[in-house]
Each structure stands twice: as C-alpha cells, then as structure tokens.
C-alpha cells in the first residue's frame, strides 16, 4: 500500500463494535528517526526538485499520500 516508511498494526476487533471495523491501521516512521546525526556529503536532489520536496537530501525525504479515498474507493 505505502512505501518502506509505513508500519501496520491490527487493532482488536470486538463482535460488538458499532461501526464497521478497520482491520489494519497504518502509521508513518519518517527517516529522521534513523539518522542521529546527518553525515557529510549525502547525495542531493537537483535544486528545483529539492524545493518541491521540501528537502535537499533524498535520505531525509518522506512522501505522504493522502488517506482521503480516491473517488469511489
């Protein structure tokens, strides 16, 4: 569903839940959690792409696809 930055877990589902259960929940773990101190000379995006992504370094980039369902989905 998402890329390697996403984790899933399965909440408890009771037979008496009033709403249709969501069986799998997702959360994102951005790459900053694994970089205690950024090393020198990491590869960089081209400048125009860096502006659009919000960071100069691919190693720090975290995409976020909207969870709003695509129409009809």
């Amino acid at each position: 569903m998402y890329d390697g930055q996403w984790r899933e877990w399965k909440p408890y589902v009771s037979p008496w839940d009033p709403c249709p259960p969501i069986r799998v929940k997702w959360y994102v773990v951005p790459p900053n959690q694994y970089i205690p101190f950024q090393p020198m000379n990491l590869p960089q995006f081209p400048l125009d792409e860096a502006l659009r992504r919000g960071t100069l370094w691919p190693a720090l980039y975290s995409p976020y696809p909207s969870r709003r369902a695509v129409k009809g989905g």
Binding site: R53, T55, Y64, S66
Partner: protein, 189 residues
C-alpha cells in the same frame, strides 16, 4: 533584526472554494503545535540555550514565520470571497460574528492562542526534547490536514510544510547530540 523578502517560502495555490478547509488549517496558525507557537517557542528559547545551538533555534524560529505566512495565505484565499452564509455552513459562523473575514490566532475549535502552548524550562535537554516533540506533532497535524482535503494544490503546499517538520526534528536531534558530545572528548586527568 530581520530582513523581509516579499515572497512566500514555497508557492501557495488554492484551486477550490472551501471555507471548511480554512477552519481546519487555522489549527496550524494559532493552535498548540502551530507555526506561531513554534516560532515564538524557538526564538524565545534562544537566549538561554548553550551558544553552540543558538543559531539553529534562530534559523528554525525564523523559518517558522515563513510557514505561518503560507498558512495565512491559504486561509485568506479560502475565505476572502465567502459570504456569511457560506462561512456559517462551514462552521465558521461564530468566527464571522467575532472577526468578519479577518484571520485570528485560534485553533480549529476556536480557542484563542495562549502562551501556555509554549515552554521554556531553561534546561537545554528538556527544551530541545520539547522542540523535537513539537515538530513531530506538527508533522502529524499536517498529515491529518492533507487527509482532510482533495485539493491537490493545497496538498502540495502542506506536503512541503510536513517535510520541513521532519528536517527540523532531525536538526533538533543533532543539537541534542552536540550538547551531549563532551562525553566523547578525550579527557586527561
């Protein structure tokens, strides 16, 4: 002092008339983990944090004002041509009665901004950990905001702002490492 550049840090385009989204976005304007709180928190902590990381708080605090401007632009565009009826339908009736179409530092539930949203404990580690937490909370808020709109232009600007929170969080983590670093220095007794 500051030098002002009369442009936004990243372009803001709004392609759908949606005052409802303005009501949600105001969370990042005057909410607890919003951009105003962030800017004031860091720029205030600057004075009493060790010299090595003062510049970082200065730079990030300044950037937060650039983000505040982006959010303000989105809210303004989403509400500037809205009629009182449209604002009321979007849940902004109480806001209109109090402020007309003006922006106000309040959260999505209408609570006015308060200095209790920001902390200054004076302990460098405690303050930096608060800053890291604030960045991650702001990142999460941007995620939920992205989930609340199908306007891809607003989503684009919000995704930029979300990524900046991730970078800032890493920089604060690095600041903690800088303050811890003495441990690795060779000591001769």
């Amino acid at each position: 002092m500051w030098i002002y550049e009369k442009k936004l840090q990243y372009p803001v385009r709004v392609s759908k008339c949606d005052p409802r989204m303005a009501r949600f976005l105001i969370e990042q304007y005057g909410g607890a983990d919003g951009e105003l709180s962030a800017a004031l928190r860091y720029l205030n902590q600057r004075y009493t944090i060790p010299d090595k990381v003062v510049g970082l708080l200065n730079d990030i605090g300044t950037e937060e004002f650039a983000h505040l401007e982006m959010i303000a632009t989105m809210v303004y565009k989403l509400t500037k041509d809205a009629t009182p009826e449209m604002l009321e339908a979007a849940g902004l009736g109480p806001h209109f009665v109090n402020h007309d179409n003006a922006l106000f530092y309040e959260n999505a539930a209408g609570n006015p901004w308060t200095a209790t949203y920001i902390q200054a404990k004076g302990d460098p580690i405690a303050d930096l950990y608060e800053d890291i937490a604030a960045e991650e909370k702001a990142r999460a808020t941007y995620q939920w905001l992205i989930d609340m709109t199908d306007d891809v232009d607003i989503q684009d600007s919000l995704k930029f702002l979300r990524e900046r929170e991730i970078v800032h969080s890493l920089r604060f983590r690095e600041a903690v490492e800088i303050l811890k670093a003495d441990r690795e220095q060779k000591k001769v007794y």
